[in-house]
């Protein structure tokens, strides 16, 4: 039983190495909530830009005729991990969680598992 804000807080507090998190509507590209980030890392910009990543992948899957659902998308930089986890909202909107991790401190498998748990508790 969690609302958006507590969910975002929990991501930052419980996932080792998390530096920013956003809940994003991927049709409009709007971040419905953000937490963390920094002056040099604008989560709103990241949210809007990563909708194109999600859209491109979904499109490709439709072209390939794949019936499976995307669980998450992982992007690794040399010093960061970006984890995108798709959620289907009750309002019929596609949403995703966007999590930024510091590569030096994060445990990728653990973070993925924790994000899945947190997402299951999120009431959207």
């Amino acid at each position: 039983m969690a609302n958006t804000e507590t969910t975002l807080k929990e991501c930052l507090a419980s996932i080792e190495g998390a530096t920013g998190v956003a809940l994003v509507d991927y049709t409009s590209g709007m971040a419905l909530g953000t937490m963390g980030g920094s002056k040099t890392f604008d989560l709103n910009v990241a949210a809007a830009g990563n909708t194109d990543v999600v859209r491109a992948k979904m499109r490709t899957m439709e072209h390939l005729g794949l019936k499976g659902q995307i669980e998450d998308i992982l992007i690794t930089l040399n010093d960061q991990y970006h984890l995108i986890r798709l959620i289907s909202g009750r309002g019929g909107n596609g949403l995703f969680m966007y999590l930024v991790l510091d590569a030096k401190r994060a445990n990728l498998a653990m973070a993925r598992h924790q994000l899945k748990k947190i997402e299951e508790d999120l009431e959207v």
Partner: protein, 305 residues
């Protein structure tokens, strides 16, 4: 012979032609509604009524927004079974000054808080996008007016303005012609169009030559802006076009006036008017001929490069 005269030495050059400085406007604040910026600064409470929607403020923050062009929170909540119609009706009837609908729904456990907050947030930004479109009439603010929904999750005015501008730019980037936002839509024949996504297919199936994008949004129980995005993508793919000129709505004919030079300017109601009344006696250049549409798309794409 055409001679280009350079100004003789010692005289002042002619003033430069005025150029609209978009970046300057953006720096001065969003420029969406100076009235809204002022109301936010004075932490006003009440409702700002504009041509295409209303923004409800509480202490300078946006608590709710409504627009006839955007489906309301009830449509979004009911369409996907998040809430039962009886539950909504019951809360609407029992709501008063102290207990708003939102609080009644949450207290009765009819809808999870997270779901209601997100749905409301999406509805607010959706309606605010339309409420903040450029309008021909000045806005009006009624101090003190509250909304029956009650407080839920207030949003800063700057966030709403920033998001509205971002949304405008997004639409423009997808397909620069705003006509599909408000005009009746019809499907168009095209060769080798990319296959629409499942979401877009649902929109395309609702296109019938009569419905506009906001009509389709309401029918599908989706946000109007999301439908505008889908419609512009479909227009860019050549799968649909706006019906132009739009059929005239049935309304009493305006009183006959002698023709004046300023008449057309007075009629102009902004770029995204849903039914721009064509001035009499002028043939409209826009057509639905596929070849011409293709050429226009090509031109628009080249201009956008």
């Amino acid at each position: 012979m055409t001679a280009v005269r350079t100004p003789p030495q010692g005289t002042t050059p002619p003033p430069r032609l005025p150029v609209r400085e978009k970046s300057a406007a953006r720096e001065r604040g969003s420029g969406l509604s100076p009235m809204l910026t002022r109301l936010a600064a004075e932490r006003a409470t009440g409702v700002l009524e504009r041509e295409r929607g209303s923004l409800y403020l509480a202490e300078g923050r946006v608590v709710h927004a409504e627009s006839p062009l955007a489906p309301g929170l009830d449509v979004l909540l009911l369409a996907h079974g998040t809430l039962t119609p009886a539950g909504w009706q019951d809360a609407r009837e029992r709501a008063d000054e102290e207990y708003g609908v939102a609080r009644l729904l949450l207290d009765a456990g009819r809808v999870p808080r997270g779901a209601l907050e997100l749905c409301h947030l999406e509805a607010v930004y959706d309606a605010a996008y339309f409420a903040l479109t450029p309008s021909s009439t000045p806005g009006r603010f009624r101090y003190g007016a509250g909304h029956w929904l009650g407080p839920l999750r207030p949003v800063p005015v700057e966030a709403v303005e920033r998001e509205t501008l971002r949304r405008r730019e997004l639409l423009h980037r997808l397909w620069p012609d705003p006509l599909t936002d408000g005009a009746p839509l019809r499907r168009s024949e095209t060769v080798a169009a990319p296959a629409p996504t499942a979401r877009q297919s649902a929109v395309l199936a609702a296109v019938d030559g009569v419905r506009t994008a906001p009509d389709i949004a309401r029918e599908l129980g989706r946000q109007a802006f999301h439908t505008l995005v889908d419609v512009r993508r479909l227009a860019a793919a050549g799968l649909l076009t706006a019906l132009f000129p739009p059929p005239r709505p049935h309304r009493p004919p305006p009183p006959a006036l002698p023709f004046r030079a300023g008449a057309t300017a007075e009629r102009a109601v902004g770029p995204a008017a849903p039914d721009p009344a064509p001035p009499p006696g002028i043939t409209l250049p826009r057509v639905n001929d596929p070849d011409i549409t293709l050429l226009k798309r090509l031109r628009d794409a080249l201009e956008a490069l």
